[in-house]
């Protein structure tokens, strides 16, 4: 970067914005006295930026802005209350509670059915046990009776 480019960069930023310290500013201003090209550049920068510094660049705030802001705030507050109410209503009344209740009922029914089945099975097992025991008992007596009675005449002959 040559000397003029260095000064031009300073003109575009720190010098035009009043951020150069006195020593650096004096150096630049000394250069501006000697260099026509940099002087023209500085003039051009000032002219380009001048429309931004006019009072007309600040526009009056339209009165409808406050009304829009006020309505926006009210709308948000109303919206918040509504969403809170709807949320609570949704949870407490309908329809979110319905599936929850339905699930509970199904679980209770399923639990009841399985308990009942277990009880029935146990009763059946008990009855079967008793039945088998009675069969075994009666078989024992009939076997002993049969052992005394030797059966058919052929059996009686051989035995």
């Amino acid at each position: 970067m040559n000397r003029c480019e260095h000064f031009k960069e300073a003109i575009l930023t720190d010098y035009i914005d009043g951020r150069l310290d006195k020593k650096a500013a004096d150096l630049l201003e000394g250069h501006l006295l000697d260099c026509g090209d940099c002087r023209a550049f500085f003039k051009q920068v000032k002219e380009t930026l001048s429309p931004f510094h006019q009072n007309s660049s600040q526009q009056p705030v339209p009165p409808q802005l406050w009304e829009a802001v006020r309505q926006g705030i009210e709308g948000r507050q109303q919206g918040f209350l509504e969403s809170l109410f709807n949320g609570l209503k949704g949870w407490l009344v309908f329809p979110r509670l319905v599936p929850v209740l339905a699930t509970l009922v199904i679980m209770l029914l399923a639990g009841g059915v399985s308990l009942n089945t277990i009880q029935v099975n146990r009763a059946q097992e008990r009855e079967q046990g008793e039945y088998l025991a009675s069969l075994i008992g009666s078989a024992g007596t009939s076997l002993s009776a049969e052992s005394n009675n030797l059966g058919t005449p052929i059996e009686q002959y051989f035995l």
């Binding site: 930023t13 429309p51 948000r76």
Partner: protein, 183 residues
């Protein structure tokens, strides 16, 4: 944009009148920055409304760690830049489309009327991208320091300097083109 601390506290507690005071103090800055960054009056109203709704919502969490001014600069710049980037109307306009018509160079030098200057500012800003536009608006129109711009845009001071340098170089080129087209 100086606002007493007690007004800010009352506004943060939901007092409508206090918030209206905040609005009165900040609306000039907010609207003008929005207007110059989005370069359209209707869009600027939309952006400014959004800024104040955010301020109203977030005032509760404002801890006075940064100044209220810096806080407002940051919200405004963010909303305006985001809006400008999202909406095609605010896109960078090629300079051929953005030329100022109807005035001669001699009239320009003889003294521009306010409307012409305003139009010129609009046209010059159209040639910049939203980030550059925000930087130039905060510096040239609102007179913020480099430090304040850095805080508002959440960038460092060297980035502010280089962004201003590039923006001004672009403005010089645009201005030359305007003068050339007018002759």
């Amino acid at each position: 944009m100086d606002i007493a601390r007690d007004i800010l506290i009352r506004a943060s507690q939901g007092e409508a009148q206090a918030f209206e005071e905040v609005y009165k103090a900040a609306s000039g800055f907010v609207y003008n920055v929005a207007l110059r960054v989005v370069n359209n009056r209707e869009d600027a109203l939309e952006v400014a409304q959004e800024v104040f709704l955010i301020m109203h919502h977030k005032l509760k969490t404002f801890r006075f760690e940064s100044s209220f001014k810096t806080w407002t600069y940051r919200i405004t710049a963010n909303c305006a830049i985001n809006f400008a980037k999202k909406h095609s109307r605010a896109k960078t306009v090629p300079f051929e489309e953005a030329g100022v018509e109807g005035e001669t160079a001699s009239e320009v030098h003889a003294g521009m009327d306010q409307e012409y200057q305003n139009q010129l500012v609009e046209k010059l800003l159209e040639g910049l991208n939203p980030d550059q536009r925000a930087c130039v608006v905060l510096r040239e129109l609102q007179g913020l320091s480099y430090e304040e711009i850095a805080q508002a845009l959440n960038i460092n001071i060297n980035t502010v300097r280089s962004r201003l340098k590039r923006s001004r170089e672009k403005l010089l080129t645009l201005r030359k083109q305007i003068n050339y087209e007018q002759v």
